[in-house]
Structure formats: structure tokens, C-alpha cells
């Protein structure tokens, strides 16, 4: 089944407000694809455009190589799981799941077979006759998934479906969603502002901000090689050291961070000497300095947080305004870090990314 989704020059304006700037995107058949971004970044608008609830201002949606422009929302091969699930409370669980088939004129016996099979798939066998209000949050979630799958969509659209669940259940449902996606081989398009969800489940993630695609990449690449300052700060924890580019030497760049000194990092995106930039180091990349370290800085520990498997340290550099967060193995520093202690930290050039500063004009523009 070809369930490729192709967005061609899609943009969306509401009056004077541009919700989505023109963008192109290819989502592969059977891919678990996520849109990640803060609320108001345009991700839900994109989902509504794919489902047909919104007509884009420009551009075209193709699903499985078929243009969708003239196809109304109720005829598209997409199925949506709503943020509040939007199950039909006056129908039983089975009736909910069978609704899409009822619309398509499938016989009652045939419908029952499908709903039984899907209830098995989502691990709720034999609960077809229950009322929706009798179910727990997690069970409702599964019914919503079964209802969306019943119509055999090419593309499943998920609008933050886990946000109403508690943490434990949310983590469990992540695994489950991924598993269902693997078994059904349907293209999943997942909308979330929770990077944990996006990173754990997705094959690829599109990070969005202010109606623009910031970066489309695998979770690992997003984490290791962010291409914009927004991605570096939004995905995972990061320490940002503001500075200016001194020189670019191939893949490496030397950054002057004023009184804090000069550091060396990887070029994350196009940089010019003299350009204001940010130097990004993950908390876990900061370790006790050794003689080999090119990048070193001396900090004082202001707080030590014990988090079980590891410690997080909040440290301060005398010449940097923001705190430096360090994540350390319990046994590191001899297990003897205390508030007020001085530490000498080192970090690898390969784990340090330098990115141009987000142009503030661009952010203010939207």
C-alpha cells in the first residue's frame, strides 16, 4: 500500500496571521512521523490540512500519489485521533469502533468481526458492549485507536492523544502505539509538544517553530546535530554559551565567549567570522577535565540534585550569566561533590555544536 504523504508548498494564513509558512515535506509510507513544537507553532494546522478540515492557503496535499485538493474530509484515506479522543459517549465501545464501517455500508456481522479483531489488537478483548463512560482513560485511548484503525486508513493522524494521561500510562502507551504502528504498517503522523514522545516513538521528527520547519531529522540526529538554535534549545537539555565566531576551520569553529575564554566546537550551520552565535554543550557532555581537553572551564557548584541513577549539578561560571547544568554519573567526582565546591569541567569538540543566533527579527515578525 502506498501511503506516502507529500506536502507541496503548503502554507496557511488566517487573515493577517500566518500559521504556516510555505513548506515542502515528504513522509514515507509506513513511517512514524512526528511534528514537534510549542503550542501555536502551526503543527495542529498542518494536521488539519492533511485531514481535510482546513483548506491550505497555498499548496497541495498528496496521499499515496493522489491529489487531495478536491477530496473532502469525509472521503480522505486518513483517520484522526483527537486530543480529547472525541469518542461518541452515547454509543457503546463496539458501536464507536464500527461507526466508520457503518458509514461505508458494511453489514452488521462483518462490522462485529472487525471490532472484535481490533479490540484484540488494542488489548481490550470482549469489551464491545461497555459504555464509553465505564472505561478508564487508558482504555478510552485504546478504543479511540481501534475506532481510527477500523476504517483501514492509509494515514493515521494523532493530535497529542496522550496528553490527558498520567505519566506512567503515557509511557506505556508510547510503547503500545509504536507496536501498533509496526504491526499495521500504516503511516502515523503524530503531533506533540512533548519531545519525549516524539523522540521515543518516531522514525523522523519535524521540529516546528512559528509556522516554519526548523529541522526534519531522525531523533538521534536532532539530538546530536541540531541545525538551528531553536532545535538545540527545544530538544533535550542544553547549555548555551553566547559568543562570537572567531574563525571557521573546516568542520570546526573557534568561538570567543568574552571573559569566559575561547572554545572550539563543531559547525552546526553556516557561520561567518564575527557572527554572534551560541555554543551548545549537553549536560552529559560536561565531565571532569583531563589534560587532553581542548575546551575547559572552571565552575563552582551551587546545587546538587540526586536523581537516582545520576546527579545533576547546577554550577556557575564567574563570567557567564546563566547556570551551567551538568549531569554526572553517581560515582563521578568520587561521589563527593558538594555545594560550594570548585570543579574543572572539560568537553569534547565533537560534542559541542556552534549555531548562529536566531535572528530576533524573524521571531518578532510572526
Amino acid at each position: 500500500m502506498d501511503s506516502r504523504v507529500h506536502l507541496d508548498n503548503i502554507s496557511m494564513k488566517f487573515g493577517d496571521f500566518t500559521a504556516v509558512h510555505p513548506l515542502d515535506l515528504d513522509i514515507q509510507s509506513g513511517e512514524f512521523f512526528s511534528f514537534l513544537g510549542p503550542s501555536g507553532c502551526g503543527k495542529t494546522t498542518l494536521l488539519n490540512i492533511v485531514s481535510g478540515f482546513l483548506q491550505p492557503t497555498t499548496g497541495a496535499v498528496n496521499i499515496g500519489n493522489e491529489p487531495m485538493a478536491a477530496v473532502p474530509a469525509n472521503k480522505r484515506p486518513t483517520s484522526m485521533i483527537f486530543q480529547n479522543l472525541a469518542l461518541f459517549p452515547l454509543m457503546s465501545v463496539a458501536e464507536n469502533i464500527e461507526f466508520g464501517l457503518e458509514v461505508r455500508g458494511v453489514s452488521k456481522a462483518e462490522r462485529r468481526k472487525v471490532s472484535d479483531r481490533l479490540l484484540e489488537l488494542v488489548d481490550l478483548p470482549g469489551s464491545g458492549q461497555y459504555r464509553i463512560d465505564d472505561l478508564s482513560g487508558g482504555q478510552k485511548q485504546r478504543v479511540a485507536i481501534a475506532r481510527a484503525l477500523a476504517v483501514e486508513p492509509k494515514v493515521l493522524l494523532l493530535d497529542e492523544p496522550l496528553s490527558a494521561l498520567d505519566l506512567k500510562l503515557r509511557q506505556h502507551m508510547r510503547t503500545e502505539l509504536k507496536e501498533i504502528q509496526r504491526r499495521t504498517e500504516i503511516t502515523f503522523i503524530y503531533i506533540t509538544h512533548d519531545q519525549g514522545e516524539a523522540l521515543t516513538m518516531s522514525d523522523r521528527v519535524a521540529v516546528m517553530s512559528a509556522g516554519r520547519l526548523q529541522q526534519v531529522d531522525t531523533p538521534v540526529e536532532l539530538y546530536r546535530r541540531p541545525k538551528t538554535a531553536f532545535v538545540a534549545e527545544f530538544v533535550g537539555e542544553n547549555n548555551r554559551l553566547p559568543g562570537k565566531v572567531v574563525s571557521v576551520e573546516g568542520e570546526q569553529v573557534v568561538v570567543d565567549c568574552g571573559d569566559a575564554g575561547q572554545f572550539r566546537g563543531q559547525v552546526g550551520a553556516r557561520l561567518e567570522p564575527g557572527q554572534p552565535c551560541g555554543l551548545y554543550v549537553r549536560p552529559e557532555s560536561l565531565q571532569a577535565a583531563t589534560d587532553q581537553d581542548v575546551n575547559r572551564m572552571d565552575v563552582s557548584v551551587e546545587a546538587v540534585n540526586f536523581e537516582g541513577a545520576h546527579l545533576t549539578l547546577e554550577t556557575r561560571h564567574p563570567h557567564l550569566s546563566s547556570m551551567i547544568h551538568v549531569q554526572a554519573d553517581q560515582r563521578a567526582y568520587g561521589g563527593q561533590v558538594e555545594q560550594g565546591a570548585s570543579l574543572s569541567l572539560g568537553f569534547q569538540v565533537g560534542e559541542t555544536i556552534v549555531l548562529p543566533e536566531d535572528r530576533p527579527a524573524e521571531a518578532a515578525h510572526d
Binding site: F53, N74, M80, F82, F88, V103, V151
Partner: protein, 295 residues
Amino acid sequence: MIKQLTARFGGPMTLVVLLLLWFWLIVLVLLPQLIMIDYSFKPNLIPDQYGGPQDVYTLGNYQTLINNDIHRTIFFKTIWSSILVTTLTLMVSYPVAYFLAQLATAKQVMLIALLLVIPYWINEILRTFSWYLILSFQGPLNALLLGLGFIDRPIRFLSGDGGVLIGMVYAYILFMVFPLYNAIESLDNNQVRAARNLGAGLIRIHWRIVIPHAKPGIATGCIMVFMLAAGSYAVPALLGSPGSRWFTQIIYNWFFEGGDWNMGAAYAFVLLILCIGFIATVMKVFRIGLGDIGK
């Protein structure tokens, strides 16, 4: 409950509130009804005969209704026409209520609600008279239809039931729109979107999602409109023709023209029983309780 009331208002105040409540229920609601029922089972007597040998309970008044072909016909016609009015009002009000509750902007809701309410600032008789003018043989509606070429001869709107139906639908539309609006407004728009996303067309979305959700509102509206229609006097009196007499007109005639309060009471009691029967049936059909209607 009494404890809570006492705790909140103190003993004497609670007593006053309860007494007022019972006064209202017994003296203003129950007693008049009981007196009317009592009247309906007695023959029409002159004061001299009170307590005399003829002052006995009898079914005579009810027998009159059963034996009088014309009155019986008008009775059933009133039921039928009231059901028709209720159905028409529902059909007219549903799209308006749906639009107001789900599609309209706050500003549009204000404007339309205002337009719906403004006519009610005028007395019902006057409103009905204006329809009399609009629908009359040489009135503006016929002039308009003639002018637009839809008809080549004026229509006698007021000669059959047409005038009464139009007048009543117009008079009671608010009593249908607002309960419907309240019910539909609480429907989560995502339900509609979900149904659409699963492939449902317009009719199925309404039939399977919106209408079941709006059921209590539909029932409330239907009950109110039916009761008002069945008990209406002004509209059939003004817009009706001799052929479209309403049962209330006969009751009126017994009381004020025939001077036979006992007969009038019997007729009115039958109408009351009918209305209660209608409410019970609607509640049964829609499977709703009294609590749902109160909402």
C-alpha cells in the same frame, strides 16, 4: 434539607419560606385544579339547586363531549394540528439552533438571539394580528408572491389551517430554539469532526451524533410547543377560519358564552389529561426523565 435551611436562614425564616412554598403549591396550584375537577363532575345548576337532589356527581359533562361529533372531531383535530405545529416548529428551529450553537460567532449569536427575541416585546395578540395582515387575501405576502411571479392568483392563506399553523410556528419558535440551542451547544465540536473524519456525511452526522446528543433539548422544546399549541386561544381565534376551530375555543364558549362552567371544566380537564399523556409519551419515546427536562 430542613436542617440545612435552618442552619442557613434560622428557624423563623425557614418556617416562612416553607409556608410560602406550601401556600403556593396548595392554594395556587393544587386547589384550583381540584375545584375544576370537582366542577367537571357536576351538572350545571342555578344557585337555588345547590345541595338539592340534582347536585350529584355525574359523568354527564364528559358524555356530552364523547357524544358530540363536532366537539370530538375538533378535539382530535386540535391534537393532530398541535403535533403538526410541534413538528414544523422543530424543523424550522433545528437548523437555526444548530447554526447558533455550533457555527456562529459570538457576535452573530447576539444578533440573531436579539432578532428572535424582539418580536416578543410585543403582545401576542398584536403579533398575531400582524400575521393576519400579512396573510390576508390582499395583503403584502400575496402582493409579493404575485409581483415575483410565483403565483398568478392570490392565495387564501387564512381560509384553511395554513394561517393557524404559520401563526403558531411563529409564536412558539423561541420555546423550541432555546432548549435546542442549550442542548446542541454542549456538544463537543470534535465529535462532529470525528464523525466526519470517519466518513460520515451531513445527514448521518446529525442523525447519529447531534440529534441523539440534543435529545433532551428536543423533548423539552416539543413538550413546551405542544402544550402551548394545544392550549392556544389567540392564534386560532384570529388566524383561524370556521373550519379550523381549536378545542380551546369550545372551552371558552362553554365558560363565557354558554355560561356552563361545569361543562367547560370537563372539557378543560380532558385537554389537561391529553397534555400530560403527551408529555409522558414523549418522555418515554425519548427515554428521558423529568430531571433532563429541567436542565
